[in-house]
């Protein structure tokens, strides 16, 4: 089991290096001199010279890549031109908001989609099944930013039920501890702020969850159906188990692996979806920071954010793989 975990973690190392190489190549290959690309539009000659020295652009490519890697290892992505602050610091400030949004969205999506998928699989061919596949196909077909805009228009605009932007009202004082509004407010016993935080996160998280529900529900459904056709389910029925016991002890545990897989895959959708959703709802996270970095051609900040997102994504994928080990004894016990 340890060997499996170690293998999986070490297996990610070449990918991390290749990804770093890819980003490095991207920055290098961008049109124009790398320094002028990296610099903001209003950078002076002195800025450019400082840039060249900082990134070692007068050195051979391999040396430059080495610098790039060491900077990366020290989590040093340079200084943002728009915010005149270290990129790492900016990312650190924004990361909790994004994580908070993603976690709530994933919880909403999984809480709706997995039961829906399982229920439709167990009642295959019923009206519930039809409704489920309708919800699934509608969910994956609507672009999240459109759903977001429509929700803003109806829920915030016409009905005036929930706020349409930000994490909490600007005038609410909340001492930052973890950076997570929902956790900080509870830690400080501010139930009102917690409620406001919840109200603010509800629309963006729902928007973000919307597209995932369809896919997770569909995969959960087919996972349960596939397991249902396995011979050991017939064995379980033949043993005299009740339908409920067969579902609980045999169907669901075996369907967990594909369901975890799809949720793992959906983490990517979650990250990329969050970029657009954050922009729509002015959510002060990494996504809206990326948006402003891109629109102001702030290359160090853009690079830093892209790297952060990618490494978070890679780590999450490794984590999902490790969950398999907990579920499946075939991975846990040595023999193949």
């Amino acid at each position: 089991m340890l060997r499996h975990i170690a293998g999986r973690v070490l297996g990610a190392v070449p990918v991390v290096l290749l990804v770093a190489l890819g980003i490095f190549a991207l920055v290098r290959l961008a049109p124009g001199d790398a320094a002028s690309t990296l610099a903001a539009e209003d950078a002076t000659e002195a800025d450019l010279a400082r840039m060249r020295a900082q990134w070692g652009l007068d050195q051979p490519v391999l040396v430059q890549f080495f610098y790039f890697l060491t900077n990366l290892a020290r989590l040093d992505f340079g200084t943002s031109y728009r915010y005149h602050a270290p990129v790492t610091e900016l990312i650190g400030q924004r990361l909790p908001a994004t994580i908070e949004l993603a976690v709530i969205a994933l919880l909403i999506a999984a809480a709706i989609a997995v039961p829906l998928g399982v229920a439709t699989a167990l009642r295959k061919g019923s009206w519930l099944d039809g409704l489920g596949s309708l919800v699934a196909v509608l969910g994956v077909s609507a672009p999240s930013f459109w759903i977001g805009i429509l929700l803003v228009l109806f829920v915030s605009g016409y009905l005036n039920l929930l706020p349409s932007s930000g994490r909490i009202p600007l005038d609410v004082p909340l001492r930052e501890m973890t950076g997570f509004v929902l956790i900080d407010s509870l830690l400080q016993g501010q139930v009102g702020v917690f409620r406001q935080g919840l109200e603010h996160i509800l629309l963006p998280a729902t928007t973000l969850a919307f597209g995932m529900i369809g896919i997770i529900a569909r995969i959960s459904r087919s996972a349960v159906i596939d397991v249902g056709q396995e011979e050991f389910v017939v064995t379980a029925v033949a043993k005299g188990l009740k339908r409920r016991e067969v579902v609980r002890n045999h169907l669901l545990p075996n369907a967990t692996v594909p369901i975890i897989t799809i949720i793992g895959l959906e983490l990517g959708t979650l990250i990329s979806g969050s970029i657009v959703v954050e922009v729509v709802f002015s959510w002060p996270g990494l996504g809206s920071l990326l948006y402003s970095a891109v629109t102001s051609r702030d290359i160090p900040l853009t690079t830093g954010i892209v790297i952060s997102y990618t490494f978070i994504f890679i780590s999450l994928n490794v984590l999902v793989d490790l969950v398999y080990v907990l579920i499946d004894p075939r991975l846990r016990v040595g023999r193949a």
């Binding site: 170690a6 293998g7 070490l10």
Partner: protein
């Protein structure tokens, strides 16, 4: 009528000399690479028109042996000589490409052995087409001839494999193997997936073909009854080694090796 080859001693069509196969284990992070030995010192001879049975339980190496003989896998030791041609000589680094060996194979699974998207005519003619034959008339003629040989109507050529039963599909597989005029036919569990009534038809077809073409057959099976019916000679494989060999009658009626005895005793046969 017994096959003439059985009485006239002649040079073997195929001679295997001390064939060995070791699989290189993949070295892992925390484990030493260890090899797995699949075959050790396998030697035998097949004369023209002879049917040699290769018997053993799953994992004994009989399929690996077949794959080495046709060239799908490389032996790690030994020599393989067909007539005056050296097919494989590991020591000398000779590995003749499969097509040049003139050995063809009939497979176990009548379903996965035919490409479902190809018409039967194209399936049967594939060997000639790979060799570069493009003349449609000639290909059609040869296919029709082969189909007739295996007892299928010529119209079969324009239909798809799924339109045939398991036994008929095995006939198509035999036609495909024979169209390139091989000197040896290898049948790897070729009747194991068939119902008994169909199995006998295919066994008799193999006997007919042997009698008519004088081709040598290597027949791989776990079924002693089938071996006893079909084969002239037999070798018994256990854990990659030949534990017993000889004429089929002698080996099966008076097995001398413990393993052979156990194997034969375990197989219920109708006449005992």
């Amino acid at each position: 009528m017994p096959a003439p080859a059985m009485t006239i001693p002649s040079a073997p069509v195929l001679r295997a000399e001390r064939i060995g196969k070791t699989y290189q284990g993949r070295s892992r992070l925390f484990a030493q690479a260890t090899g797995v030995t699949a075959l050790t010192d396998v030697s035998f001879e097949v004369g023209p028109g002879e049917i040699l049975g290769i018997v053993g339980e799953s994992g004994c190496g009989k399929s690996t042996l077949a794959r080495i003989i046709v060239g799908l896998e490389q032996a790690s030791a030994g020599r393989l000589v067909a007539g005056d041609a050296t097919l494989v000589d590991v020591a000398a680094g000779i590995f003749l490409p499969p097509a040049a060996r003139r050995i063809q194979m009939v497979f176990q699974d009548p379903y996965s052995s035919l490409n479902p998207r190809m018409k039967v005519g194209d399936v049967v003619s594939e060997g000639l087409r790979i060799a570069g034959e493009t003349d449609r008339r000639l290909l059609a003629d040869r296919v029709a001839g082969m189909l007739r040989l295996v007892g299928l109507p010529a119209e079969a050529a324009s239909r798809y494999p799924f339109q045939f039963s398991g036994g008929q599909r095995q006939r198509i597989g035999i036609a495909r193997a024979l169209i390139t005029e091989p000197r040896i036919l290898i049948a790897d569990e070729a009747v194991s997936a068939l119902d008994v009534s169909v199995q006998m038809q295919i066994l008799n077809l193999l006997l007919d073909i042997r009698d008519r073409l004088g081709i040598a057959v290597l027949f791989i099976s776990h079924d002693i009854g089938v071996i006893e019916y079909l084969c002239d000679k037999v070798i018994v494989l256990a854990q990659g080694k030949i534990v017993e060999s000889g004429s089929a009658d002698a080996v099966i009626s008076k097995p001398s090796h413990v393993y052979t005895k156990k194997l034969i005793d375990a197989v219920p046969r109708i006449q005992d």
